[in-house]
Symmetry: C2
Subunit: 360 residues, 2 copies
């Protein structure tokens, strides 16, 4: 067996110890005689896994007691509708900050459920920056202000927390949750699809301040009603049990790495090596504003784009996969989430240097 | 490692060869160097798994070409809302046949989205039968007629296909899909959560006739719009990739068993052994009408319910788990889906005889 360095933007690489444990426990979880996939979600075995996942996530993110953690079915695109269904009824309108493709999609979906105010957009810079908060046109009567804390396609990330005043701040953190410590108390609601830093696709984590529950529009499906799920500890329906199990193993792995402060240092070190090289090279380029560059997704272009296919083939031959940029923008992209080891970064930069030398 | 006989109603036992293959491929799927969990859903590796799952399901169920197969996020409780969101807009109203807790829940959820006509209900028999179609009060202007083809809690199953005339028949087949051949052409739409006969929870299969697409209400989230998902081959969002992979292995296992005709014979043989014993015994009883008894879920009660705990403890000690009935009805329940081997049935009946002899 040879493992590759997998730069996929998501579903993405998982820590190898997590996969090893999952493989070892596949037919018999801790002497239960069952796979986790086969367990009733209401049995004591799975209930203990569910509780452990919740408790580890609370510990890693220091989630205050007045926040509920929900393990929902689906992903962030579904949640783009489910968030406004649950929250926009408070005042009928919401502010959206658009910094890339995902926040644009969120804003478009929300418009089905209320009035959406585009309070700021990075379209003018071709989505290469986060617009400074001083330029945002916030509505003090908004039900919430929505941001996407990291845009995977163009690699733009918030390295600061907006101040929405009394309006709850809602963040789609799908692609940078658990990559560094955050102050949960400054948000009204955080949501994240699992398939970047937490586990398999099909699970969405929602962290919601209690006072924001109970405002769902009448059309909200019961399974996606935060109040209903909160009252039922995310078990109004059968939750995605195996995905929650893998997430609990990932949370345990993060804790063993030293928690989010340690993982942040590691992520900063990894990204610095790649960005420093891009900045030194005239052969490759990244055009995102330095202060807004993503630590998770590093898009770059070859000066001569006719070499793109050769670059990708060479990478594949060296065991580095999924480096092709999103089909909407082209170029290359290295997604380097928590589970990407430093060796993967070093191997990539070494290959980039080699390729540059061979084609200069 | 000792595997138990797992009588859970869902998530439920999976075929052991499927689990063995999943364990073996966990770190490296077929030389890709990646776990299936780590694959981009748009990469060639996962696309091949997705196509294989769809093709095997089409083959097993002989799905006609004018039907689309969608692999959706979520489960049947979510789908209880998503079905009317997509279909009830055709005429604004729908017929529901209530044969137990799940179809009652479906009808209640649908009422958010249009006028629900309770065309028939088994409440009068305390949900121990399927009301004969001659008693149904169908609305010829309904958008669809909804049934639940198998009720897991009380063990009531349709062993015939209703004739809804020109009105599309919609069936929640979560708990008996793939347990026997069906004539898909007699249905407008079939939906099923994966976690009984297909794989892990978090995946819902929808089989829909093409002419029923395109009627979604404006409030339908894009991720749950059948037309949108159909146009995007279930990839408008990131699908639950690992669950689809396990389902594809289960479909392959079913094919290797001889397909649905063979699995039906096996399921009939298994259920007959259990029901025959229940009918012979005065110690246990099942009160469902004989012609409507479920082949998948066999609820039964001890004559003396003060022995329930002792019965369950003895079963657990013999490696038979999850035999407790649903908390809403009490008693016992043996769920015996496709993956339950004949040895599990024989072990259960042997234990029931032993327990009866010890407490007569």
């Amino acid at each position: 067996m040879t493992r590759v360095f997998n730069f996929s933007s998501g579903p993405a690489a998982l820590p190898e110890p997590v996969l090893r444990q999952a493989a070892a426990e596949m037919l018999d979880w801790q002497g239960s005689g069952m796979s986790v996939m086969e367990m009733s979600h209401r049995g004591k075995e799975f209930m203990s896994i569910h509780a452990q996942a919740q408790s580890l996530l609370r510990e890693l993110l220091s989630i205050p007691p007045n926040y509920r953690v929900l393990f929902m079915q689906g992903g962030a695109i579904g949640e783009n509708a489910i968030v406004p269904m649950n929250l926009i009824g408070r005042t009928g309108r919401a502010d959206y900050i658009v910094t890339g493709d995902w926040s644009a999609k969120s804003a478009k979906e929300a418009a089905r459920y209320g009035k959406v105010n585009l309070a700021a957009s990075a379209e003018g810079s071709n989505y290469t920056e986060v617009p400074p908060q001083a330029t945002w046109k916030l509505d003090p009567g908004a039900s919430y202000v929505h941001i996407c804390s990291n845009e995977t396609i163009r690699g733009v990330e918030y390295h600061w927390t907006p101040d929405a005043g009394k309006v709850p701040l809602v963040a789609d953190m799908s692609s940078n949750i658990l990559s560094r410590p955050i102050d949960v108390g400054r948000y009204g609601l955080i949501y994240a699809g699992a398939q970047k830093n937490m586990g398999p696709s099909g699970l969405t984590v929602v962290i919601v301040r209690e006072d924001l529950l109970g405002h769902a529009l009448p059309a909200t499906p019961s399974a996606f009603n935060y109040q209903v799920q909160s009252e039922n500890d995310s078990m109004y329906n059968t939750p995605p049990t195996y995905a929650i199990y893998i997430a609990s193993l990932v949370f345990g792995w993060l804790k063993a790495q030293g928690g989010l402060a340690a993982i942040e240092r590691h992520n900063r070190d990894k990204a610095a090596i790649l960005y420093d090289y891009l900045d030194r090279s005239a052969f490759y380029r990244n055009t995102v504003a330095r202060e807004d560059r993503s630590l998770m997704n590093v898009p770059f272009r070859l000066k001569d784009e006719s070499l793109d296919d050769a670059f990708l083939q060479g990478a594949q031959a060296r065991g580095m996969v999924q480096l092709k940029g999103h089909r909407s923008v082209g170029g290359m992209r290295a997604s380097i989430y928590n589970a990407m080891p430093m060796e993967g970064i070093r191997a990539l930069v070494a290959y980039m240097e080699e390729f540059e030398a061979g084609h200069a």
